[in-house]
């Protein structure tokens, strides 16, 4: 039971939970108390004095933003005394404010304008000269106009309390306080745009849309960001079909109005001049402009001919997980019915599949059993291989909130050193941090499990319920020696014991699994082992507890659930689940294709050997993502038919026979499913660019020409069909309702299911460092996702390019010294596969022995990578390599 208090505000009686601030209680009865420094996301600071109210029995006016409601309180917000107070506070602020509303981008949505309009007399007693700050260049993306600042410090507090970046400094004192970065340096930070959004006036604004609009000219569309699995709700604002700005309202979506740089500044991709505007068809070796009719007819005819000659299994389909659920659903239906093959895959294959496989195996769910809210209210959080700030920034904010505001215990197993930098570093917040190389993730997890077993922390009910399982796992970890674990992780046995103790002590524990695990060898196995950890500590199945694999792409989860994978039908159901097949066949009024189907890597192999003749590729660019050693280019070149639906002429599209211009997320309607499994509406913000069309519409048009019409009036109709197949899919509420673990599956896992692969899962594995090819001077290169980009897609966003326009080779300063390299040096990085030249960046947070390079600019770096394919999940791994580094001549 939450304790409550009753109070009266301007005559309204209200009951609120104890601790509620008067300003919030007032908001609940519809009374707006004017305020600048207060913001629900921030700790009360009570520095602006704008929110003064009268409270009975209190001698002086009180700040509503810092006074908690108390039993029997009588608050008045609109008396003469209060109004006088508001007037004088405003008089003080306006004494220095330049009143340059005509040229201020905040004009029309500015708190100072609104409050002045409401409370100020038109005259002022101040005759002094106004303060004038010399104008200083602040940053390429963010503009400051310090003369407009009301010194509420919301920006500074947001950057610290919410972002944990601490990039803003209120420099100076009193009226002369000015928001700066570091001395006269330009801003270097996460560029989340949070300070722009939270500034109540026009003192901090975005440079991407400077002087381009007045708020009332803008058309708004609430939609979902397309840059990562967090699925933030964004409002795209446009003027005459031009993208003007992106914002996210306080409280909006799963992100609660917070965004990252990609979401806030990355929106110009959709209107990039390189967008494909017309269909292209290959004639005499060249891709030339064609009409939709010609292009589609040519594709249909060729496809029909090839199908007759070689059968449906000579076709393959690949789709990107940036597509909507509607696109994904129709794509797999197209492949299964119109073409008649199970050769279907999506970019979820690069990692998401690993997580889903493990969840299905151990607990019978295909998605998280927790939500972002459970992360926030977790008492213990374990992050494994995530660098969450850079891959899933908003999930990162939830973790920060849990740790900073609610004192959760954070455990991190990451290839990160705790070090303060210009962007936040989750390892800095960890109570127990294991800084390991990527191949140390698994040994570190096993170290935790060994500690659970050896310190007798195994849940008693579990030991009674599943003695065989507990014994098998216990024996497996007892076989591993602490020395070996210490060697593999560089951490002491005691540190594992301490960490485990603080983890098991808690009632609510969540484990986040990142790309370092999911996109690395045996990602599925290690995720299952993390589920073992939760089972052993007794957390598994408890409310608010669970293992949560993080989706990298915005609709990775949807891609799996829509059945855009050889092994899954919509649901997802296993492709060989007879009941599910029968249901689907009945709904589709057609038999489903039989046979196992080919995965991404098998399709490439098939194309290379000639068993695959044709491919439909929608919004995916294997030739640009996989390393050249995979031979993707050559394989795709030998196809008789390659059809690409794309926004840009990518490496893959350049090889196509026909390129069909697809539209971007900003131009279409539909749904995305985020990493939590929350299905959210995508709404078009601008009209279609050129002749581009939504992917589902293109597939639908093709299906008609191929003699098997899959026709829908709009995306909603497809969604209705999805709903009829997956009951309850996407109840579009404010929060997801996560599934509970399927007890039958958990029991069968505990009985026998655990044993398959147990031996491999519970070995430390070869230290890659030990392999012969590594020399003294060699480093492990890791190609990773960074905060400022998302795949290669965002490298066409002009805003993001201003923050990061090229790749750099980041390594620890100690390695720099050892190799005689300084910041900015040009280096030659090479191994037996190839070489590249790049620039050195020294970063304290990169562990010794490791070097990071952003995948977004890996055209050259990819040459150094080798692909290996997971035999169980068909996931291709190609993110790391052993390399030699020397100064370039």
């Amino acid at each position: 039971m939450v304790e409550t208090v009753k109070l009266t505000i301007d005559g309204h009686h209200i009951t609120v939970p104890k601790g509620t601030l008067v300003i919030e209680a007032a908001r609940q009865v519809g009374v707006m108390v004017p305020h600048f420094c207060y913001h629900p996301k921030l700790k009360p600071d009570a520095n602006c004095r704008m929110c003064l109210v009268e409270i009975e029995k209190m001698p002086k006016l009180q700040t509503a933003c810092s006074t908690p409601a108390a039993e029997g309180m009588v608050v008045r917000t609109a008396t003469t005394v209060v109004n006088e107070a508001h007037k004088s506070v405003l008089e003080f602020i306006l004494a220095n404010h330049p009143l340059d509303c005509p040229v201020c981008d905040q004009g029309g949505r500015c708190d100072l304008q609104d409050f002045s309009h409401e409370y100020t007399p038109t005259t002022s007693r101040f005759i002094e000269v106004k303060r004038v700050f010399p104008k200083e260049y602040f940053s390429p993306l963010i503009e400051t106009q310090m003369n407009r600042c009301v010194q509420c410090l919301r920006c500074v507090r947001y950057c610290d309390e919410v972002m944990d970046v601490k990039a803003l400094a209120p420099s100076g004192r009193g009226t002369m306080t000015e928001i700066k970065h570091f001395t006269h340096h330009e801003l270097d930070c996460e560029f989340c745009g949070g300070c722009v959004q939270i500034c109540p006036v026009g003192a901090i604004t975005s440079r991407l849309s400077m002087y381009e609009f007045r708020p009332w000219m803008l058309k708004r569309a609430d939609t979902v960001c397309t840059y990562c699995g967090d699925g933030c709700q964004i409002t795209i604002q446009t003027k005459e079909n031009q993208l003007i700005e992106v914002m996210s309202a306080q409280g909006a979506g799963r992100n609660n109005g917070d965004l990252c740089a990609r979401g806030f500044f990355g929106y110009h991709v959709s209107t990039h001049p390189d967008r494909l505007q017309h269909p292209l068809i290959r004639r005499n070796g060249e891709l030339v402009q064609a009409t939709w009719e010609d292009a589609l007819e040519w594709v249909a005819e060729t496809a029909i001919r090839l199908k007759l000659a070689h059968g449906p299994n000579a076709f393959g389909g690949l789709i990107g997980a940036r597509c909507t659920n509607e696109d994904l659903y129709l794509f797999q239906k197209f492949m299964r019915l119109v073409v008649g093959t199970n050769n279907i895959d999506s970019s979820a294959r690069y990692g998401q599949i690993n997580g889903v496989r493990a969840l299905r195996r151990v607990q019978g769910t295909s998605r998280w059993t927790v939500t972002f809210d459970d992360i926030v209210s977790a008492e213990a959080l374990l992050l494994v291989g995530t660098n969450v700030t850079e891959t899933n920034p908003i999930t990162g904010l939830k973790v920060k909130e849990a740790v900073k505001k609610r004192q959760a215990t954070l455990l991190t197993i990451e290839a990160l050193e705790p070090a303060v930098g210009t962007i936040s570093n989750i390892a800095n917040l960890a109570a127990h941090h294991f800084s390991v190389q990527p191949d140390g993730f698994k040994p570190a997890v096993l170290g935790l499990i060994k500690a659970v077993v050896e310190e007798n922390l195994v849940s008693q009910p579990l030991a009674q319920k599943a003695p065989g399982y507990v014994q098998a796992v216990s024996e497996a970890v007892r076989r591993l020696s602490w020395q070996a674990i210490e060697r593999a992780t560089g951490s002491s046995s005691q540190s594992f014991i301490d960490a485990t103790r603080s983890f098991t002590r808690t009632a609510r524990a969540v484990i986040l699994v990142g790309q370092g695990v999911l996109r690395a060898p045996d990602g599925s196995g290690l995720t299952a082992t993390l589920l073992d950890l939760l089972l052993l500590t007794g957390h598994h199945g408890l409310p608010g507890c669970g293992v949560a694999p993080l989706a990298e792409e915005n609709n990775d989860q949807g891609a799996v659930e829509m059945g855009a994978a050889l092994e899954y039908l919509p649901g997802p159901s296993d492709a060989n689940d007879q009941a599910a097949r029968a249901r689907l066949a009945q709904a589709w009024k057609e038999e489903l294709p039989k046979g196992p189907g080919k995965s991404l890597m098998e399709m490439i192999e098939g194309a290379r050997t000639g068993s695959l003749k044709a491919m439909f590729i929608v919004g995916e660019n294997p030739a640009g993502s996989l390393p050249p050693s995979a031979g993707t280019m050559e394989a795709l070149q030998s196809l008789d038919l390659l059809v690409c639906q794309e926004l840009f002429l990518t490496e893959t599209a350049r090889l196509a026979h026909v390129v069909l211009p697809a539209c971007s997320y900003a131009e279409k309607d539909g749904t995305f499913t985020n990493t939590e499994g929350h299905v959210q509406s995508v709404r078009h913000a601008i009209e279609l660019i050129g002749e581009s069309r939504p992917d589902w519409e293109i597939l639908s048009a093709l299906s008609v020409l191929m003699g098997y019409p899959l026709e829908y009036g709009d995306a909603k109709e497809i969604f209705k069909e999805i709903r009829s197949l997956i009951p309850g899919y996407g109840l579009l509420g404010p929060a997801p309702t996560p599934p509970r673990p399927d007890q039958a599956v958990v029991e069968s896992y505990l009985k026998t299911g655990y044993s398959s692969g147990l031996a491999e899962r519970y070995t430390l594995g070869e230290r890659r460092a030990a392999s012969g090819e590594r020399k003294d001077f060699s480093l492990t290169l890791l190609v990773t996702q960074t905060l400022f980009h998302s795949g290669k897609f965002s490298t066409r966003a002009k805003g993001l390019l201003q923050v990061q326009a090229e790749g750099a080779f980041s390594l620890n300063p100690a390695d720099g010294t050892r190799l005689g390299l300084a910041e900015g040096d040009r280096v030659r990085v090479s191994n037996d596969l190839g070489e590249m030249t790049t620039t050195v960046k020294l970063q304290d947070r990169v562990p010794v022995g490791l070097a990071l390079f952003p995948e977004h600019f890996d055209q050259e770096a990819r040459r150094l990578l080798r692909v290996s394919t997971d035999p169980a999940t068909q996931v291709p791994y190609y993110k790391s390599a052993s390399v030699k580094v020397e100064k370039a001549k």
Binding site: A167, S171, G172, K180, F182, V420, T422
Partner: protein, 174 residues
Amino acid sequence: MLREKYKAEIDEILSRYPLRRSALLPLLYLAQKEEGYVTEAAMKEIASILKITPPQVYETVTFYTMLNLRPVGKFHIQVCKSLMCALVGSDTLLGWLEVRLGIKPGNTTKDGLFTLSKVECLAACGTGPMMQINDDYYERLTEEKVDRILADLKRDGTSSLKSGPFMWPERTDG
């Protein structure tokens, strides 16, 4: 680098506080003692010692008038401009200094001897107008006293008119 030169002193400072960042002001003093002002490099180094960001260090430096962000002359004249001193004529004092030194607050004389600054209350409110030069207070100032102080400093590097680091207000009750 401060860390190399003052290792023991820094360790001792850090050991005084349960919260690491509380050591910020003492470390800034150390840095200022070293160079006469707080350099950017020092701010960065202190940030890294305390595991905070350079902007957080910078913010603190700009708050306190005792910390200088630019090199100062041999004698740093800090005139109190807070209320009590203002009531007894700190602006006249400042004006006099400006004329005598030929510089405005925030600047240093060409010979590098004097830097003039305006600062907040130095807790000598009963004996204003007053100023602090380097570590010494000079109180109950008049134009004539100021002239003597400047001449003394130029000539001897010190002045007998100083009242030391702090002076209690005199008793007036007899």
